[in-house]
Amino acid sequence: MIHRILTIVSLLLLSLTWCPSIAHGQSIQPTIQRVQQRTVKVFGAGGIRRLHAYSTGFVVSRQGHVATVWSHVLDTEELTVVLADGRKVRAKVLGAEPQLDLAVLELQDKELDLPAWDLEADVSDAGPGTRVLGFSNMFRVATGDEMVSVLHGVVAAKAPLATRRGAFESSYEGTAFIVDAVTNNPGAGGGVLVTRAGRLLGMIGKELRNSESNTWVNYAVPISELKQPIQQIIAGKYRARQRDPDETNAVARFRPLQFGIVLVPDVLFRTPAFIDGVQPGSAAARAGLQPDDLILFINGDLVQSCRVFKQSLGRIDAGTVLKLTVRRGDKLLPVELPVPETPDTPETPKKPEKPEKPATAGDTK
C-alpha cells in the first residue's frame, strides 16, 4: 500500500505543479452540467424575521416532480420554481414527510418533459474521504436564470445525526452524510450532494446546530432514505409516519431510588452522576454498586450528568435489564440490574407504539 501511496503522491505533486485547474475542470464539467440541469430554485414564503423565502429542489420525474426540504418556505399558495433554464413555473406541495424533512412538489405545467434524476440508477453511496460536490440556491446568490452554486469537499463521515435525544434540533435522526464543505446555508436545503462522477448521494438538509459541540454541521440526508417516500408520494400512496411522542412530556417511568441508588446532590449544570449511597438489600446493592462509583454509561449511552442519568432512567422499559458501566478508581465495571415490571407511577400512560425506524442506507448502489 505504501508504494501505491507513493505513486499517488508523485502524481499529485505533478498535477499540482503543472496543470491542476485543467485536470479538475475536465473531469467534473459534465457532472456539473448534468446536475445543474436537474436542480431548481424554489421561492415561497418567508422574508420576514430573517426567515429566508427561498430554498432548492431537485427534479425526480420527467413530468415535473421536485423533491425539496420541508420548511416554512413551502407554507404558501404562491410557490414558484425556477428551472435550470430560467423558466418560472408555479408549483404545489404534493406531499411531505416532516420526519425526513422531505417534501415533494408538483409543477403546474404538465408539458415540461424535464431532465430528471433516476432514483434507482443514478444513486450511489460514499464513505469518509470521498470527494463530493454540493449544488444549491444558497443565499440566493443565483438570481434570474442563473444556475445554482457548486461547492466542493469530501465526505467527512457517514454517521447518525443524533447520538442521543436533544443533540440536534432536527427532525431527521438517521444516518447522514456529513460534509467538510460549508454546504448547509440559508436556502441550500433541498439541494443535492453528488460524487464527482455525478452520482446522487443525498439531499442537503436545513441549517443545523449541533448542541453538543455548539457548532454548525453540514450534512445531507441519503437518497436511500428518501427514495421510497418520494416514489410513494408521487404515486399518491404515501401515508406520513407517526410522530414520536414528545419526550419532554413523557412521564419518568423509573427513578434512581427504585434501584436503591442515591445520587450526589445535583448542584451544578453538569453534576457528574456519582453514587452517594446504596440502599441495603436493593438491586444496586445486590449488583455490587458502591458509594463513590461514577455512573458513566446507561445501556451503552454516555451519562454526562445526574440530570442525564435521571432522564435516561425515566425512559427505560419495564421488565428489561438495566446495564450500567461505572468507574471505580481507575477501573470501568459493567453491572446489570433487573428493571421492575411496574413503573414508578401507576397512572403512567401506556407507551405508544414506536414508529418503525427508517432502513439504514448503504446497500443502494
Binding site: 502524481l11 505533478l14 459541540s213 453538569r270 457528574p272 461514577l294
Partner: protein, 650 residues
Amino acid sequence: MSLWLTIVLVPSVSLGQQPAANLESLEEQAFKEASAVVAPSVVRIQTVGGLDRVGRVLTGTAATTGVVVSADGYVISSAFNFASRPASVLVTLADGRRFPAKIIANDWSRMLTLLKIEAEGLSVPRVAPRDGFRVGQWAIAMGRTYESPLPNLSVGIISALDRIWGRALQTDAKISPANYGGPLVDIRGQVIGVLVPLSQRQAGRTAGVEWYDSGIGFAIPMADILGTLPRLKTGTDLLPGLMGITLRAGNVYASAAIIDRVRFNSPAEKAGLQPGDVIANVDGQPIRRLVQVRNVLGNKYAGDTISVVVRRGEESVEQKIQLIGKLEPYTPTFLGILPARRKQGEAATGVVVRGILPESPAAMAMIRPGDTVVQLDDTPVTDSAGLFDAISRRRVGADVTVHVDRNGARQKISAKLAVLPTQVPAVLESQIIAAPDPKPADLPTIGRFNKDLAGHDNNFWGFVPETYNPAHGYGLVVWIHPGSDTMEADIYDLWKPICEQRGLILVGPRAKELAGWNLNEAGFIEALVKEMQQKYNIDDQRIVLHGYSNGCRFAYHLAFKYRTLFRGVAASSEPLKVTPPENRPDLRLQFFLSCGDKDNLYRRVQQTRGRLAAMKFPVTLSTEPGLGHEYPTLPVLDEIGRWIDLLDRI
C-alpha cells in the same frame, strides 16, 4: 534523494496517458488510505461533568478526539477538549475498547493535554519529519467524534508554516470541535501535527474557536510534541517561558528589538539586561527585527534556558537566562519615614526625617524625626526622590544600612525593609502652611475660581487655599465628577477645610457633555494638570484623582493612561472594571477605595480591593456602615486627606 526522484519520475511517464478523472480517483483513494493508516491511533474522548461555560464560550459535551503517542497508553489531545474541567475522561480506542483516562499534564503554550490510559500495545502513528512540510501539500484532518467505525475526515492543504509565533502550522482543512485533538495527516499516512484552536490575539483554552470551519485551522507539529513529551509525562504543566522584558514599540517587522523596560525581579533583570539594550541574538538565531524575538521565544517554555546577546552601546553582552512561567508582581517596599517637604530654594543635602511611622522598619531601627538620611548602603542620597528610588528598587525583607546625620554626627543604622502598609492612621499631624509674608505681587489665582484652558473646549473650576505660599509644594486633587452632576457646591464645601489642613489644591474639570466623560477627554485632564504644575508649586508625589460613582471609571482610565503623572486614585462607590497595568517600582500608584456597606456595589468594590491587592498595589478600603450609594461623609474624606498626606512616605 535519488530514490525519491526515481519514484517521482517513473509514473510521470505514464501521466500523459492517464485520464484526469483517474488521477482524481487515485487522489481520493490516497485520502482514504492515508486516513486508514492512521485510524488505529485516533481515539475518541468523552468527558463527564464539568462547567457548561468557559468565559463566553459554551463548552460542548460532544465527543472529541485524541492521538496515541506511545504504545503504553499516552494520548495527546487539544486542551480545548478539557476546558470544562470534566470530572472524568473516557478514551475509546479504534477497536472499541474503552478506558478511563487520567489527565497527566497540559502544555499551556501549545494548548495540548496529555492523557494516560492503562493499556498496552497501542498503535503509534508514524510522524512526518518537520523539515518536509511544504505549503500546498495535502493535509487530511481526522477526528473521531461521530458514532461511526471510521474517523471523520476533512481534506485540505497546508496553508502556511510557523504560525502563532512559530508554534503551529496552518491548514485550510475544516478544523472544528469535530476534530480538535485529532491528527493532521499527510497523504502518506504520517502525522503532521495535532489540531488545536489557537489565536494570535488571545491566549486561553477556548481562544481561536471562533475560527472553526473557516478555512483557517492550526496544528501543532507532532515532531515538536514528541520533543516535549518526556517533560509532559513527568506530570508537570508546561508554561510559555517569560523573561520579563518589554520591547520598544515599533513596526514589529521593521524595527530592531530594543528593550523598553526590564521587569523588576524578572529573569531579565537578574541577568542584568537594561532598557536600551538591543537584542542581537537569541539562542544562536540572529535578531534583526522585533518579530523574530517573538518567534524564537514563542517556542520556549518556562524552565528553558536561552542565551541572549545584547548590544549595549559599543559592547556586546551575552547572558544565559532561565525563563519562568509567571512573573511575580512587584511588591512596594517601605522604610517608614515621612520625608520633610523641601521648600523652594532649599539646598538638597539629604532627606530630613519629618516623622517616623509607628511599627515601621525605621521605628524599630530607632531612626528619629530630625535625622537627615544621607546615604543608603553605597548610594548617596540627596533628596527624597533619590531615597524613594533606592528603597523601591530593593526587595521586601532586604537588609539596608541607612546613613544618617544626627546632631552633626554620622550614624549607620541597619533596617530590614517591609511591605508598604495600607492602613491609614486615625491621627496624622498636618503641616499647616503659613501664608507668605510679605505677600508676593505675582501670586496666582487663589480661593475658588472658574477658568477655561487655552486650546481646549472644556473648562474647570478649582480651589486654592487663601494662604497659598509658593515656597511650599502642594498636593493636587483632581476631582472627576460623575455623569450628569458636577457636585461642585458640595465638593467645595467638603474639601475646602481638608485642602487647607493638608496643603492641597483642588481642581474640578467639567466634562464636555454633562451626561458623562468621554475617554478622549483624557488629553484635557493631562493638559490641566500640567497647567496647574506650571502655575503653582505642585508636589509631584501627591497628585491624585478623586472620583465618585461612574466618574471613577474615567479616573481609573486616567490613572492607568498617565502613570508618570498620577500617584493615587481615591475612588468612592465604584468597582474597577478594567484590567490594571502591572505594578512598577518606578511609578508608584496607590488606591483608596470607599463604599457604603448598604451600596449594591459594595461587594464588587471589595472584589476590586482584592484584585488590586493581588497585583500588589497598595490599596486601602474604607467601609461606611449604613451608607448606600452616596458620596462619602466627612470622616472618610478626612481619611482620604490623611491618605494623600502619606503618599510620599518612604
